[in-house]
Symmetry: C2
Subunit: 182 residues, 2 copies
């Protein structure tokens, strides 16, 4: 009887240890580049709906790294793809139109490609600002004085953009997701 | 021969005088409340497409004062309706989604009803700011310090909103429109 209890406890300890090691592997950001997520997983992690993901694949907005054709069941998103999804999700959640969010994403890819690298080292991502004005969209490095002038004197909209925040959100979500599956 | 020329010149002068009187009547802002515009005219004046106008009528976003059913050919927009169209046009032109623009319009109707009055006296319309944050939309009176804190410290989007500008734009467009039809 006592031997059985000890066995159960030992099994439990060993199982926990394995869980920790596996989690450690998943969190290891240097391995992140080779981690891929299914469409359902990507949806859970980023908060984008599966319908959105499918729509963006069809429109060529965010095309998963594995099976870029966007068809069939073999659709897999890299961490870089997830970062793009997080950007779209953020821009849409603050009320921008699909077209504006898509255009902003394209400008971000050009102006700050390191934003979409799984291992972008913290502090390397400069704050940006999306400058909206009637039928015009610009992306610039954040400048407090310029931002204030624009909003206060010219009465024009401004969307501050922090790549750091996007990375932090994604890694928080990934942690939560990994905790759920173990 | 000379008599004919004089007649032409006189006719021209009389015609110009009539034009001026008619224009004066149209510009008389106190009469603006009783002026109505067809769907095509409203589209030309505000820059919204006829398709947008129809879509918004069907969705109940902006329903013209005359024939509120939105069906048939007897659709007429008041100046108050044109002001609402100008607001939608502006918010969409800076990149907001249809839903966000519609929600902002509804909040503006509640918070600043005088914005949609044809004769709102200049200086009565306070500056406002639309505060966007993930899945939340607020409308507040513009405050430079608060605006700066929000953008600079909290990194949140901000859309300054000036009712004065909307009125000025509409009356400029109306002037241009009236010059075109005469």
């Amino acid at each position: 009887m006592i031997h059985k209890s000890i066995l159960i406890i030992l099994t439990h300890i060993v199982f926990k240890k394995i869980k920790t090691i596996l989690k450690g592997l998943l969190y290891n950001q240097s391995d992140m580049e080779n981690t891929f997520f299914s469409s359902t997983e990507a949806s859970k992690i980023t908060g984008c709906s599966r319908r959105q993901l499918q729509y963006w694949r069809e429109k060529g907005v965010i095309v998963p790294t594995v099976n870029a054709s966007g068809k069939g069941r073999n659709v897999y998103y890299s961490v870089s793809d997830l970062l793009e999804l997080m950007v779209m999700e953020y821009l849409l959640s603050v009320g921008l139109s699909f077209e504006t969010a898509q255009e902003s994403l394209e400008m971000l890819r050009k102006k700050q490609p390191e934003l979409f690298k799984a291992n972008a080292s913290s502090g390397k991502l400069k704050r940006l600002m999306i400058l909206l004005s009637p039928n015009q969209l610009e992306l610039a490095e954040y400048d407090a004085e310029e931002a204030f002038l624009r909003v206060n004197r010219h009465g024009l909209p401004l969307i501050p953009f922090s790549g750091e925040m996007i990375h932090r959100h994604l890694y928080d979500n990934l942690k939560r997701f990994n905790n759920e599956i173990f």
